[in-house]
Symmetry: none
Subunit: 385 residues, 2 copies
């Protein structure tokens, strides 16, 4: 009851109040707020609403909506996810504080649902291309067991939630308003579905309208609850850039999906990539390379293109062999200008390397070694450089 009362008083994160609670306990802190027996730093933030106590009604409502209020004392509190927020300089940006409480709708454990999670966010005015790309990427992440975190907005956010729902995956909507407010109102039905199989999360008590500064604070929570943030489309002044900033401040990878250079909806993504604010990603594998646990390269991986690894006479001879079919050493000598003994010696070396073979008709390339996986390509690439 004390937590719920305080959540309505400050309506959002408040580092000073969290610190007071940690020192004197939540009940004593609530009493101090009620009686205005407070250090000066807390008088401003609590002044407007310290007289309002609807804790009982609020609790009754969230329970009737199948939800709960999580506090740092709960086992389900995603403490390690939020740890980074507590370490940001609070003087620098108040919105950076650890949430006071979280209003949660949905049956899943927030702690477990955010164990492996990626945020997928982007432009409200998305294009058909952006929607398609979001569907592919968020759908693949969700199908592979990753929770998709987003902001339930029009455009990319909504598509990200829908794609996760469509494959039976887990998705979390983080709101910038009270848990009873569907925002945008057209996503009423979508939010209800998310609450059914995933989670709807907010720092704000019931009845809170979305305000501009709520969105900035909400963005930090999206970044904090995920292993990384992916921006699919973003105009030149998109709010997604703010989420990316939070992700970087928290030391987590920020990623952006490229698009046509002719599309205004991709300008922000290209700019973030170009300015080193976000890594370029084009598919779920790329995203998990950044946000997932480190994958080790396989020893013995084969290069995808054998020619890249050749030089000198070997490169000449290999290039002079047709992709399909055979040639005789004499023809190779005429083409490359190498003497016959050199041609033969080089063919032998290439044969030992498994790149060429010969039969009654002459010498041919062997079938290209297949690139078995992303790791193989990456490893081969590393070897090359």
């Amino acid at each position: 009851m004390a937590w719920v009362y305080l959540s309505r008083v400050v309506a959002g994160p408040c580092a000073a109040l969290s610190a007071l609670i940690e020192t004197v306990g939540v009940i004593e802190a609530a009493r101090a707020v009620r009686e205005c027996a407070l250090p000066e730093v807390l008088q401003g933030p609590t002044e407007a609403r310290r007289g309002i106590d609807r804790a009982e009604a609020d609790l009754a409502w969230i329970e009737s909506a199948g939800g709960r209020v999580l506090t740092p004392d709960d086992a389900e509190w995603p403490a390690w996810r939020l740890l980074g927020l507590g370490q940001l300089d609070p003087a620098h940006d108040e919105a950076g504080a650890v949430p006071l409480v979280l209003w949660v709708r949905g049956r899943r454990s927030l702690l477990e649902s955010t164990e492996r999670a990626v945020a997928v966010v982007g432009a409200r005015c998305s294009t058909g291309y952006g929607n398609h790309a979001t569907g592919e990427i968020a759908g693949e992440l969700a199908a592979r067991g990753w929770t998709v975190v987003s902001g339930a907005a029009f455009g990319i956010d909504g598509m990200a939630h829908r794609a996760a729902l469509a494959v039976g995956g887990v998705t979390i909507a983080v709101l910038a308003c009270g848990p009873d407010r569907p925002y945008p109102v057209q996503h009423d039905r979508l939010l209800a579905e998310i609450a059914e199989t995933g989670l709807v999360v907010t720092e704000y008590p019931p009845g809170t309208s979305p305000h501009k500064h709520h969105f900035l604070a909400r963005n930090r929570l999206i970044a904090a609850l995920a292993d990384g943030v992916v921006v699919v489309e973003a105009g030149i002044r998109s709010g997604a850039r703010n989420t990316v900033k939070w992700s970087r401040r928290l030391g987590r990878p920020a990623m952006a999906v490229p698009g046509p250079i002719t599309s205004a909806a991709s300008v922000g993504c290209h700019r973030m990539i170009r300015e080193g604010e976000a890594f370029i990603v084009t598919r779920a594998d790329d995203i998990l390379d950044e946000a997932g646990p480190l994958r080790l390269s396989l020893p013995g991986a084969v290069p995808s293109n054998p020619e890249d690894n050749l030089s000198g006479d070997e490169a000449l001879i290999y290039a002079a062999l047709p992709t399909i079919g055979c040639r005789l050493p004499r023809a190779l000598a005429a083409d490359t200008g190498l003497p016959m003994p050199g041609v033969r010696a080089t063919l032998s070396a290439l044969e030992i390397a498994g790149l060429v073979a010969c039969d009654a008709n002459g010498w041919s390339r062997t079938a290209s070694p297949p690139a078995t996986s992303t790791e193989a390509i990456t490893a081969a690439h590393d070897q090359h450089r």
Copy 2:
């Protein structure tokens, strides 16, 4: 006549022959080749065709086509452009040598035309999007007085030439065959137009057919004649990647244009950007930021210790490299805590600055930073942020 004779004998670059000419002069070198009075390293490359001398007919043909043969002795020879090729380790890759001669069609000076030049290359199987993007970018570069260098192939190359021609700009086609061979044959008319107002350039004597290894050598020449290479579309195994590799070896910026992640024709571009092989660019301004004149930040002295000039990720990565010996990118990532793409991008920037190099064993510090390191670091640094 001696140059022209030798051009047909070796049909392409030949570092050993260039070295011999430098030592004994071209006439004496031609005599030595004719009489096979040669060091062993030159016997192979000259064996097949030293008996063929069509120098007179070749010269008559190129003159009748409004062209000329340029040699390193000509004032029009773009010596400083090709300087980097001569400094590549010739043992590592024969194709890296300085051209023996250049067969040129067109009235302009090659030296002047390549003073400010950008190569725009890409997929033969380009898409409507790629063609449009090429038209915008190459057209803008040409309109701003930059020469557009490309390979006259179908797709992106052809579009790049056409866009430059369309705005009355200068464009250079570099061929992988003789100057008399329109390749592809459907670009006969296009090549004639390029020769009319721009230049058609090749290392190969008249009659030479395009072979696969010619294309690899041709790609180095495209990279060498430009201040930087821009890839507009590239499939996963595009030849454009080879041109990018040359550009990087020559210490010039490699750039790639993003596209829809749903397009196979952009997969190679996205991969090069992701792996730090190319910078993302979306318009002419971005390209001139990378390839344009270097921005100097420090007047005067070059610091004795390159580390003094580094900051951020570059300082981290440089410090993580041993004074003697190599490391792999993955080990650097583990050490510095930077993600792999960041490691790769940073290594690229340091490579461009001449502070690190890589071989088959991994990345190492260069023995002695180049004299221009201050500017290079600043430029590489700017490119990055």
